[in-house]
Symmetry: C2
Subunit: 386 residues, 2 copies
């Protein structure tokens, strides 16, 4: 047996510091062959940033309730190990002497109005959003000229497996929106919507469909975009209001999609869903355009409230009529987003009391984050167009 040579304690400590825990592995979302962040067997995560001249470095974002101080090692790199975060995808960043900095070792995702680092922490046994050896649909960048904004806009469009091979088949369409500060790439990059639907289709749990993901921000010429980091002003409960984005969807996007893709164009074959800000947009746009939409998904955000005799222009007043007109009203949240869980409960009780048919979905252990919305999509899509 080989003996460990004598080493001074200080050198041993430095060596131990520089060597990663052998039971830990690089996170699957790391760039190229980056060694950090590393995930330990018990779910703890170690982050590292080489910033030898910094006076203070913290880890911040959705992996920690409050910014947590990192410790500087002899090699000038700052490290911290945190308790196991919730499963799924989390945005995070470093605060280097107060400056928000992305982790150069991990990939970025458009969130918080800019490319922001994320980490993927799968829950053992939960693989519905990973690519599997099944037929894969395509995600297509579709450019269209918006008369409303005067600009070329880009939407991401999922076409199901077999779309090209069956040039006479037409498909129903789901319009699917991201949250505040995100963009049209969110549902496929953070959300993995394409893999979720590929897997549902392979298991014959869903009807083949087209999914259209646009950017939920739109401004007429001269209209001023919000400042970075700002959130839209909350609407009055139960008030339906026009928006530039609605005009883009109704007058520019839907016609462009129906012209370019082999869609089924009736209201019975068109759904809309969104998360957080996107759920507010979904509730507004679908209830104002029930001639165009009949399947509605509200992921972690909009709920139904107020006096339904007058709220929402009265479209929810007559339950029987609404139940006939709207094939699916789906609402959901994650157990780790307490305020939204409360709102969901109130909404569920109100809808139940009024006899309005709806689905009430709860994602166990997940917060106001993409992993909730992956699960929402995975429950929502199998209910569509049936």
């Amino acid at each position: 047996m080989r003996r460990t040579p004598f080493l001074p304690a200080l050198l041993l400590a430095a060596t131990a510091f520089a060597q990663p825990d052998p039971s830990s592995k690089p996170a699957i979302s790391n760039l190229m062959n980056a060694e950090y962040p590393r995930v330990h067997a018990d779910g703890r995560v170690t982050f590292r940033l080489a910033a030898p001249n910094a006076a203070k470095v913290q880890l911040a974002g959705a992996v920690t309730a409050q910014p947590v101080d990192m410790a500087k090692g002899g090699d000038g790199a700052w490290m911290v190990t945190i308790p196991p975060p919730a499963p799924g995808f989390h945005y995070y960043w470093f605060l280097v002497d107060g400056l928000q900095v992305n982790d150069p070792s991990s990939d970025t995702y458009f969130g918080w109005t800019r490319p922001t680092t994320g980490i993927e922490l799968p829950l053992a046994g939960e693989d519905f959003y990973f690519p599997k050896p099944v037929p894969h649909g395509q995600v297509r960048m579709h450019w269209y000229l918006s008369k409303t904004t005067g600009e070329w806009r880009r939407a991401m469009v999922y076409t199901p497996p077999g779309y090209d091979a069956n040039p006479r088949t037409r498909y129903p369409v789901l319009y699917l929106q991201h949250g505040a500060g995100e963009d049209e790439t969110g549902w496929t990059k953070q959300g993995r919507a394409n893999f979720i639907i590929d897997n549902l289709l392979a298991e014959k749990k869903a009807v083949p469909l087209i999914v259209v993901m646009d950017k939920g921000y739109a401004y007429r010429p001269g209209e001023r975009p919000p400042q970075p980091g700002s959130r839209p002003a909350p609407r009055q409960p139960g008030v339906l209001a026009a928006s530039t984005f609605e005009t883009v969807i109704i007058e520019d996007l839907i016609p462009s999609i129906d012209q370019t893709f082999r869609t089924l164009t009736g209201r019975d074959q068109r759904a809309m869903a969104g998360l957080s800000m996107g759920s507010m947009q979904t509730l507004q746009i679908t209830l104002r355009n029930l001639d165009k939409f009949s399947w509605i998904g509200l992921f972690s955000g909009a709920t139904v409230n107020g006096d339904l005799d007058s709220a929402y222009n009265g479209v929810l007043k007559d339950a029987a009529a609404f139940n006939k007109r709207v094939h699916l009203l789906w609402t959901g949240a994650g157990t780790a987003e307490a305020r939204l869980m409360d709102a969901l409960k109130t909404s569920d009780e109100l809808l139940t009391k009024r006899g309005i048919r709806h689905v009430n979905f709860v994602s166990e252990g997940t917060a106001h984050e993409w992993h909730s919305w992956r699960r929402h999509l995975n429950d929502f899509v199998p209910r569509l167009f049936k």
Copy 2:
């Protein structure tokens, strides 16, 4: 006329500092409504980063030959105005007390092995790479299982306008590669290849084609990826060698593309081109697989050199045979990349002396950057498949 009220000189100076030059405008690549970086009428560019606790902040990257110090204003933001950079797209970043940090106000692009800030500085009157009111092709994410690497890989695939509307038409294919540290998104995001080709097709300058853009890195199970920031070891001039990426292209990617898309599958209808590292891969892969490729584009990198009687396995020895077999050998560089211009001249002279038909293209005023390669593509594509 309203009079300017008296202000102490110091306050005036601070006000002047905080107010952007009214003749300057936010760069077109800025995120959302970010005010900086700003481009002045004379082409100078002002960069800004709010980092009140930093001791030293520099601007670095391809907008400046050497890192340039920024000055801290009273508001804690660091600013610098630089002389007009070369036209086109440039990667850049800040050095905050030595730490490389992206500009949170500008978009990022996968380069230097990670998402890296870029800025777009158009040259007045040059608009061939902008979206115009013409029919647009789609850029599709295509997933395929690589037997070579054992992983799902993603390629970006441009399909020309009319692809879906003409389900019996088949198209020739260009395989198009990025440079070192970049990935499959480079040619459409930094390169704007889709808009360049849309515009060429609208002007009837090119044959409708499919373009396949894969990631130029591939590792067999157990093979070790290079360290971030490292570059591939230079090959011996004139030596053709196998690579894992070649195996992926030949055995996995081409069959998957030919199975999924309506391609023309003969060697006369298949091209390959690449920039920098991608041009080395192109030269290697095409010359080793002349049964599969007959159109070759070398953008700012690989050139032909050595003793052609023996180099490249002798495939360039017999000029007449090569000229018959290879329909296009295209080489190019930008005038601001001096070393490559020298290599291009040597290669041009050698090919001319040996009677090997080729195109020698020079991009005026551009460096080893994407704007050279946009121009290269714009010259290369109209020559294909004719």
